[in-house]
Structure formats: structure tokens, C-alpha cells
């Protein structure tokens, strides 16, 4: 399992995947927004989305858990 955490303080603008979704390297998982900038959170390995821990509109702090990916494929 791979925990994907926020690197910055931001608002969750879009959650782009659902639990169970299959993702490839480079897929955008979540788009954060902070200071008029959109910051996509990208999958660094091919995997499956196990759990989504945030909802759109929610604010996150650095280190907060965004989602959990399953074992790399």
C-alpha cells in the first residue's frame, strides 16, 4: 500500500479518481488548489485506488493523507 499525502497547505479542488480505479503512471489523482494555483497530485506508479480520504472543498495541511493506492502493478 502506498499512502499519498499532501505536500502543501491547500484546498482539495477536484478528486479525479474513485475507489477501485486503475491508475497508470502520470495519472492525475487529486487536484489541490492554493494561492491561485492548481497543483495536481500525480500517480508515480501504476496501481489501484484503495481508498480516497478527502472530499472536494476540504482543506488539507502538509502531510495529510489524500488517498491510498494498492500494491504497484
Amino acid at each position: 500500500m502506498v499512502e499519498i499525502r499532501a505536500e502543501i497547505a491547500a484546498n482539495v479542488w477536484q478528486v479525479q479518481v474513485r475507489e477501485g480505479a486503475v491508475v497508470a503512471v502520470g495519472d492525475s489523482l487529486v487536484i489541490l488548489e492554493s494561492m491561485k494555483m492548481e497543483i495536481p497530485v500525480i500517480a508515480e506508479q501504476a496501481s489501484t485506488v484503495e481508498r480516497v480520504e478527502v472530499a472536494e472543498g476540504q482543506s488539507v495541511q502538509p502531510g495529510d493523507l489524500l488517498l491510498i493506492l494498492g500494491v504497484p502493478r
Binding site: 494561492m35 491561485k36 494555483m37 497543483i39
Partner: protein, 447 residues
């Protein structure tokens, strides 16, 4: 003469406008959101009005609340700064309809330049050079692909109602164009409430150079010098300098003439900026767009000309003559502006948080326009600009050296800033040579 002024903005630009207004004996009113109550601009105004919650839609972008604040405080005039309501023709009209003085161009001029496609077409008709591009917004992605076949790659994909680099992307082939079109369209819809997209031929190794203009009360337009704004990340400016390195005198005069013609074509009054792309090898330029407001980087023009642009804006708005001899403007020396952002210096990701220490550099030739002080917090609701560090000296080399010293002296703690990036920039041989273009930061980080 304006006797009282409401500044419909925040941070460094609100503070900067308030400062000039105060020296002119104008009574000042600040407006602010819940998030900004502790910032210097709020306490430096003669009066401050709370607009509402932190999100801009509920405070700085709420035209009715701003107008109500002006009414309640008896402010005669409104200065919009840049961003927020500054280029909103409907707001400018509402200000006039309320019987107040609008410190900016007429709503019709804002509207004419606000639609980038319309602006391009009008400029071309007025004899100002524009880059090859689509003469109307594209209906859909397939129309973009068809138009691209005529124009040729590489292309710049842009939002017609856009600005600030948001939604802009370079496409080098059809696949990139299709992706860029979709992204640009969704961002344009979200940020500018208009999905209109157009294409413009992308000029490789271009420099981004702009001309400051001032439309006088009597209808004349004067060009007050150029600024090179090629140091950019994500199509947003990070540092600017004047005069522009690599701009020959012949090109400079042609750009000034073109800028004056562009402003005259829309009957422009007050301060504005004509943004251009320059091909330094061909010594040629094309019109990009006009920003119908005070520009972020206006201080470097003030440093080399000795003109206070905000003071002149207030004079024009009141129908007064300029305070300087319009035929005797002779810029002196070289000036550079560094935009100090709350972001990490490598990836340029936002870094909001509390500021625990803030010590500005001081000395001859140094000007710091700051929005924050120690003890303030940087929130994630607004752009990351903390301060503008501006330095002027007799020559470019001296200005860069002086700027490097000032960067080393500037202490901001508690949040990450891009100050370390500026130390890197001022030491970079590509930047120091003056022969850089808009790809400089990518080159610095790629190599």
C-alpha cells in the same frame, strides 16, 4: 483633485497606493477580508472596512460590498489596484454610475482590451503588429486543429478572456494541441467564466517586453519606457528589468509608437501597459495584449523616471494635468524588480503559513513594496506575492550586484520563499549576460 480614495485591493499594492494618496493629502479607505485584518495595509489607511470572509468572491470580488463601503465612508474615488475588480468593465461602470471617480480607463476601453481576440483584431486594424493567430474564438477542439494547419506549429493556446498566464499552454503538435485545448478551456471557464479559446503563433526564444503608457486627461498618450518581463515560471512573471537588455534604440522607438497608437485606438486614459513579444535577433515585436490598469512591476519605471505613477493616475482621474514634462522624460540608470513569493525556491509550490521574522534590506537605490510584516500569516486564498524587492543603479551590472546583496539581506522566516532562487538567478551567467528569454527558468532548472 481627489480628496478621498478607497483602495479596492489588498497586500502590497493596496499599501503602495495608500502611501502615495497619503503624501498627496488624500483621505484613505482600505477594504479587507477576514483573513487580512492584521495586514499592514489595513492599519495604514485612515479608515478600514471589513468586506467579508476570506474567499475573494465574498470579499474583494464582491462589487456591491465595495461600492457600499465607499458610500458608507464617503470616499469620492476608487482605485482598483491590479487583479480582482481592476479589469472588470461592469464594475468600472458601476463606480461611475454611483457618482464616484474611477481611477482607471473608461469601461469601454477595458472592454475593448479585455477580450484578447477582439483586442488583437483592433490592434491589427490600427496598424500595430500582431502575431499570426485566429481572428475569432474557436468553436471546438476540431476547429482548433483545422486552424493549426493554417497557422503552423508551435502555437500558444490562450483564453480569450484570460490573463495572468492562467490556462495558457504551448502546443508543438496536434496531440499537444488537443490536450492543451481541453485544459485551457476548463481553466478559462473556471477563472474567467468564459470558455473562449484562441490560438496564436508561438515565437521561439522570444522576450516578453512591455511598454508603460499613460493616457492624459487631454487625450494625449505618452510612453514612459519599457520593461523586460522574460523571467517567468508557469507563464507568470518573477523578475522584471528596465531598460530591456537587447532592445535597440530603433526597436524601442517603434515599440513606443506602436504602444501609443494601440492606446489611442481605444481612447485610453490613465495608466496602462502594452505587452509585446520581442524577437531580439530580428529586432521586431508583436502586440500581445493590453493590461488596462496599474501593472505589478510599475515601480521599476518609477525608479528610472522619477515619476510616481499612482500620483499621475489620481491626477488623470481628477482631470488634472500631469506633474511632469511629457516631452522631457529621460530614464536614468537601470532598475530590476524581484517578486518575492511565498513558495519554495525549487519547485515553486505555494508555502502559506505564519511569518515569524521579516527584515527588509535598506539602502540607497533599494525599494521594497511589501504586503506583510513579522507576525502576519500568509493564507492560501490569494496570490503568493509577499513583496517586490526593487533595486536601481547606474548600470545593469551594478543593479544586479546591488540586488544580490539586497536578496542576501532580506530575511523572511516561518514560510518558504523564492529568495534563494533570486540568489541563483542573479548569479546565473545566462541572466547576467542579458541574452535570456522566457525559457530561462526552465533552462536553469533543467541543466
Amino acid at each position: 483633485m481627489i480628496r478621498s480614495l478607497l483602495v479596492a485591493n489588498r497586500g502590497e499594492i493596496a499599501r503602495r497606493i495608500l502611501r502615495t494618496a497619503a503624501t498627496m493629502g488624500v483621505r484613505t479607505v482600505a477594504v479587507h477580508s477576514d483573513a487580512d485584518t492584521e495586514l499592514p495595509f489595513v492599519r495604514e489607511a485612515d479608515e478600514a472596512v471589513l468586506l467579508g470572509p476570506a474567499p475573494p468572491q465574498q470579499s474583494y470580488l464582491d462589487a456591491a460590498k465595495v461600492l457600499d463601503a465607499a458610500k458608507r465612508t464617503g470616499a469620492e474615488a476608487i482605485h482598483p489596484g491590479y487583479g480582482f475588480l481592476a479589469e472588470n468593465a461592469g464594475f468600472a461602470q458601476a463606480v461611475l454610475d454611483a457618482g464616484l471617480v474611477w481611477v482607471g480607463p473608461a469601461p469601454a476601453a477595458i472592454e475593448a482590451m479585455g477580450d484578447k481576440v477582439n483586442a488583437r483584431n483592433r490592434m491589427a486594424a490600427a496598424g500595430v503588429p500582431v502575431a499570426a493567430g485566429t481572428a475569432e474564438p474557436l468553436a471546438d477542439v476540431d476547429a482548433a486543429v483545422v486552424a493549426a494547419r493554417d497557422l503552423g506549429y508551435p502555437l500558444m493556446v490562450k483564453a480569450a478572456a484570460g490573463g495572468g498566464g492562467i490556462g495558457m499552454a504551448v502546443a508543438r503538435d496536434e496531440e499537444q494541441l488537443r490536450a492543451a485545448y481541453v485544459t485551457a478551456r476548463s481553466r478559462a471557464e473556471r477563472f474567467f467564466s468564459s470558455p473562449a479559446i484562441f490560438l496564436e503563433r508561438y515565437i521561439e526564444h522570444a522576450r516578453h517586453v512591455e511598454v508603460q503608457v499613460l493616457g492624459l486627461a487631454d487625450g494625449r498618450v505618452v510612453a514612459l519606457g519599457e520593461r523586460d518581463c522574460s523571467v517567468q515560471r508557469r507563464h507568470q512573471k518573477v523578475a522584471e528589468e528596465t531598460p530591456g537588455p537587447g532592445i535597440g534604440e530603433d526597436l524601442r522607438q517603434r515599440m513606443f509608437k506602436g504602444a501609443v497608437r494601440a492606446a489611442e485606438a481605444v481612447g485610453y486614459r490613465n495608466a496602462g501597459t502594452i505587452e509585446c513579444l520581442v524577437d531580439p535577433v530580428a529586432q521586431d515585436y508583436v502586440f500581445l495584449e493590453m493590461n488596462t490598469r496599474l501593472q505589478v512591476e510599475h515601480p521599476i519605471t518609477e525608479l528610472v523616471t522619477g515619476i510616481d505613477l499612482v500620483a499621475e493616475q489620481l491626477r488623470v482621474a481628477a482631470g488634472d494635468e500631469p506633474s511632469f514634462d511629457v516631452d522631457g522624460v529621460r530614464p536614468r540608470g537601470h532598475a530590476i524588480e524581484l517578486r518575492v513569493y511565498a513558495e519554495d525556491p525549487k519547485r515553486f509550490l505555494p508555502s502559506p503559513g505564519p511569518i515569524t521574522a521579516w527584515i527588509e534590506p535598506v539602502g540607497p537605490g533599494i525599494r521594497v513594496d511589501a504586503g506583510y510584516a513579522a507576525g502576519n500569516s500568509v493564507t492560501l486564498f490569494y496570490d503568493p506575492l509577499l513583496a517586490k524587492l526593487c533595486v536601481q543603479a547606474a548600470t545593469r551590472a551594478e543593479a544586479l550586484d546591488h540586488a544580490a546583496d539586497a536578496v542576501a539581506e532580506f530575511r523572511i522566516e516561518g514560510i518558504k520563499t523564492n529568495l534563494p532562487f533570486f540568489a541563483e538567478l542573479l548569479d546565473d551567467p545566462r541572466f547576467r549576460s542579458g541574452g535570456y528569454d522566457t525559457t530561462l527558468i526552465d533552462q536553469m532548472h533543467g541543466s
